[in-house]
């Protein structure tokens, strides 16, 4: 009961965040100095044309009115037209979101999955070589610009070795699997197209590495330090005193606690990951929303900027909500303690 309460409360808390976010981004986007109307109409446009389109887009209204109009539109699924693609921003984003989701979720999943054993090993071998190695690797991992890592990976694995595809989600000529989730890895498995799955996976490999290296490092270090903290806990000593096997203590008793406290940061790490997806998608020509966002920003396509930012904000808030959910699930204190 109070777990549900807790979740509902968390969810309600994110509403003002999303709302504030929309105001913030809306304001930023509207002070962009370029003239989107001229951009849409082309160079030969007459002043009448400009004025007409301006009115049509509601740009002659005062800012608060524009915001209200925009908000009403957003709720109705009308996120405005993209000046660049001349398409509804909502459908633009919907079309590109799966690619970004596939990339970021797979990256996060792999990063966390690998970070757990590495973190546990480093944490339980504090100040031994395993720990030092993990520390150095991690520090290198977070220190390299992800977009640069992406380029270097391309140079090595594509240009020099010719092992992997350069960019994109699928090879030319490989048809996307029948759209169910629009995540190619999933869809190709659903459709039983194993070849497509392999192709999608090979395309995903380098972007995932480039994007996930730092996240892996971050989470690994976190789990390590939380594991070290756990080691000092009384219940761990107690479990040892009861004669439980070390592996059980490490992976069942300590890890669940350590992971729980690392979880909140995983939520934040997802935010960083999303942020870096903007650069990595560019390098790998990944046809996702982040790339669309960068282009929108460079093109000063403000409806698209607002749309992408809102979706990213919602994604971040959702990720943190999922974290809360897991947190509550993994930690009965959250679930059971009232207030």
């Amino acid at each position: 009961m109070s777990y549900v309460d807790y979740l509902v409360r968390r969810a309600i808390h994110s509403v003002p965040v999303i709302f504030g976010l929309s105001v913030l981004i809306f304001l930023i986007s509207r002070v962009i100095p370029g003239d989107p109307v001229r951009l849409a109409l082309g160079p030969e446009a007459t002043d009448q044309q400009v004025a007409a389109l301006r009115a049509e887009m509601g740009l002659d209204q005062p800012l608060p009115m524009q915001y209200v109009d925009w908000l009403v539109g957003v709720v109705q699924g009308d996120w405005g037209m993209s000046l660049r693609t001349n398409n509804n921003v909502f459908s633009d984003i919907v079309a590109r979101l799966p690619a970004t989701l596939e990339l970021t979720v797979v990256t996060l999943f792999c990063a966390v999955l690998l970070a757990i054993p590495f973190g546990v090993v480093a944490g339980t071998n504090k100040d031994r070589w395993q720990d030092h190695l993990s520390r150095i690797t991690a520090l290198f991992g977070v220190s390299m610009p992800r977009f640069w890592v992406a380029i270097v990976l391309q140079i090595v694995f594509v240009v020099s070795l010719g092992l992997l595809p350069l960019s994109g989600r699928l090879s030319d000529g490989v048809a996307p699997p029948p759209a169910v989730t629009r995540l190619y890895l999933v869809d190709s498995l659903i459709a039983g197209q194993f070849g497509t799955f392999v192709d999608a996976a090979t395309h995903l490999l380098l972007p995932t590495v480039a994007l996930g290296l730092a996240t892996l490092a971050q989470v690994m270090r976190l789990i390590r330090s939380d594991m070290i903290d756990e080691q000092r806990k009384d219940y761990v000593l107690a479990a040892r005193a009861y004669g439980l096997p070390n592996t059980l203590i490490e992976y069942k008793y300590m890890l669940q606690n350590a992971f729980t406290s690392s979880l909140t940061v995983v939520g934040l790490a997802f935010g960083f990951l999303l942020g870096n997806a903007f650069l990595v998608e560019i390098v790998f020509a990944w046809p996702g929303m982040a790339r669309y966002g960068v282009q929108a920003i460079l093109y000063q396509d403000f409806n698209a900027i607002v749309g992408v930012t809102i979706v990213v904000g919602i994604g971040f808030v959702t990720a943190n909500f999922v974290v809360d959910l897991l947190y509550g699930y993994l930690d009965p204190r959250v679930r059971l303690e009232e207030g």
Partner: protein
């Protein structure tokens, strides 16, 4: 038409590349998209792409498939809205234009309109239509369709409607009979014929049927084609690809080796485009990648890269209404300090140094004009004569706006910076997004001292390189960033527009060019060459002067078995 100023070397190359001939006039679509998106090949960030998505479906399946690789998305499929090259590509293949460009003379020539006449001393234009043209639903194309299509453009006020908006009222469009339509302009309008190459005709019945809230079927035409073109739209995946298949009863007929289907997919990454071409997965690229990319593609055995002169000017307009470039001596000093040779050879890697505003290959170019050369001594001389000292200039600060993100634009800035550095002038390079640039161009105060501009003609007429640049009524557009005109120039250009006789009109334009160049309102740098990558097994490609016209798939055929690998 005179072809004298085409260098022989180039002509040979041109012929070798499959074009039968090159002549004057012609134009290419809007400048704007070209500078932002067109050159984006060297910077993936500026445009959209999905490299792979579109290739499924009908694309590869059997038949003779033409695969075009575009570097930017198709923003709209409505021919009344088209301004950039991908939109032009769609319109060109799905619709028919009233007047087309002759591939040999590069002059306006009959197409849907089989003949025309003028009345009232050039104020009214009367067109007679072919009788064998049918839309893809089988209904014949009539004068009503033409009248509706033009009214539609004027009412929607999008795309190239600005060609006529100031001169033609929708009520002055008259259908005289099923095959005759008349347009009565407010004044004698010389360039009218040339402008109609950008006028595509839609099926009025189908479009009217699908009108929503007076949108003239704009929404409907985003996802459907309703034209008489060689291809009919099958599928448009927004941002990714378009697919179309041949209209069997196309009035121009089909040959054995014509393409059954054509698709265009969007790939912005130069490296990916190159790989795709190398692997024989694509038939043709666009012309907007970096110089390096074409050189590389040329080295592939299965790809050829024709290099032909095109009707384009690259220059830095100098803001003549803003200190210190309001001083002609400063402008001349700047012009003489620039290293034209490096610009053409090292940065653009081809073409020639420009001579005045009108591209050298265009009809109406003033052949008497001499290309500029770097001469630092002269530059210093002029600088000494100027009202501003070097210190004053540096105090004011010279600003050079380049379009953000592209290598060529950046290098031009650096080159200019290096030249002025020799005079002791510090130049601030300011990369701007295109939208910001056009915004600043709306007033003389906000326009930069100089700006990198690629200027392609919009129609087969020198009008756009003169009237649109140096007539006061054109000021405020990115094209006219010099903010320079004189009464004499203005009068000459107005006369040219009113003249219905082609030859006398061209003379007026030549006269105007001489007057303009005296004032040194721009650093005229180059007429860059046109390059695209083509699969060896594609034949029939021709440069046709107007943007996207050279991607008329109907005119091309496949030789050999499939694409060359």
């Amino acid at each position: 038409m005179p072809t004298g100023n085409i260098e022989r070397r180039k002509l040979l190359k041109l012929i070798g590349s499959g074009a039968t001939s090159v002549a004057l006039a012609g134009c290419q679509g809007t400048q704007q998209t070209e500078t932002t998106d067109g050159s984006s090949g060297s910077d993936s960030t500026a445009t959209e792409q999905t490299s792979d998505d579109g290739s499924g479906g009908s694309g590869g399946s059997g038949g003779n498939d033409f695969h075009f690789i575009a570097g930017q998305v198709f923003g709209t499929l409505d021919p009344a809205e088209q301004v950039d090259y991908t939109q032009g590509l769609a319109a060109q293949n799905l619709y028919d234009e009233l007047i087309t460009v002759d591939a040999e003379t590069l002059q306006p020539t009959a197409h849907i309109a089989e003949s025309w006449d003028t009345e009232d001393e050039g104020q009214t234009w009367v067109f007679t239509l072919r009788d064998d043209v049918t839309f893809s639903d089988g209904t014949p194309l009539t004068a009503d369709d033409v009248a509706y299509s033009l009214t539609r453009m004027l009412e929607l006020q999008r795309g190239y409607s600005s060609f006529w908006l100031d001169y033609l009222d929708p009520s002055n469009i008259t259908v005289r009979d099923e095959r005759t339509v008349a347009f009565e302009f407010n004044q004698a309008y010389g360039p009218a014929l040339a402008t109609f190459v950008q006028f595509y005709i839609v099926n009025s019945a189908v479009v009217q049927e699908n009108e929503q809230d007076g949108d003239y079927g704009n929404a409907y035409l985003q996802n459907n084609s309703a034209g008489s073109g060689a291809y009919v739209l099958d599928n448009w995946e927004q941002g990714n690809s378009i697919e179309a298949s041949a209209y069997e009863d196309y009035w121009k007929g089909w040959s054995e080796d014509s393409f059954d289907t054509f698709r265009s997919t969007v790939i912005t990454e130069e490296s990916t485009i190159k790989t795709t071409m190398q692997q024989g997965e694509g038939d043709m690229t666009d012309q907007y990648m970096g110089t390096q990319a074409y050189a590389e593609m040329d080295s592939y055995s299965n790809v050829r890269v024709p290099e032909v002169p095109q009707l384009q000017l690259f220059h830095f307009p100098l803001n003549c209404q803003k200190a210190p470039t309001d001083d002609i001596n400063v402008r001349k000093a700047i012009a003489y300090a620039f290293d034209y040779d490096s610009a053409v050879n090292d940065i653009i890697g081809g073409g020639g140094v420009a001579a005045g505003p009108v591209p050298r290959e265009m009809a109406g170019h003033n052949g008497d004009l001499v290309p500029m050369e770097q001469d630092l001594d002269k530059a210093k001389e002029f600088l000494d004569k100027a009202d501003y000292s070097v210190e004053e200039i540096n105090e004011i600060g010279l600003e050079h706006v380049v379009v953000a993100g592209t290598e060529l634009q950046r290098q031009m800035g650096l080159l200019n910076q290096a030249g002025l550095n020799e005079l002791g002038i510090d130049l601030e390079i300011n990369p701007l997004q295109w939208a910001r640039l056009t915004d600043r161009a709306t007033s003389a105060e906000s326009t930069a001292h100089m700006t990198n501009i690629f200027h392609t003609a919009k129609m087969p007429s020198p009008d756009s390189h003169t009237y649109l640049m140096y007539h006061p009524s054109s000021f405020g557009s990115y094209i006219s960033q010099s903010w320079y005109s004189t009464d004499e120039i203005a009068a000459t250009l107005e006369e040219a527009r009113k003249s219905t006789d082609l030859q006398s009109r061209l003379e007026k334009y030549e006269e105007a060019q001489a007057l303009i160049v005296e004032g040194m309102p721009s650093v005229y740098i180059a007429n860059p060459p046109y390059r695209i990558g083509i699969n060896e097994n594609v034949e029939g490609w021709q440069y046709r002067g107007v943007m996207s016209f050279d991607w008329d798939v109907h005119s091309m055929t496949r030789s050999g078995e499939g694409r060359a690998k």
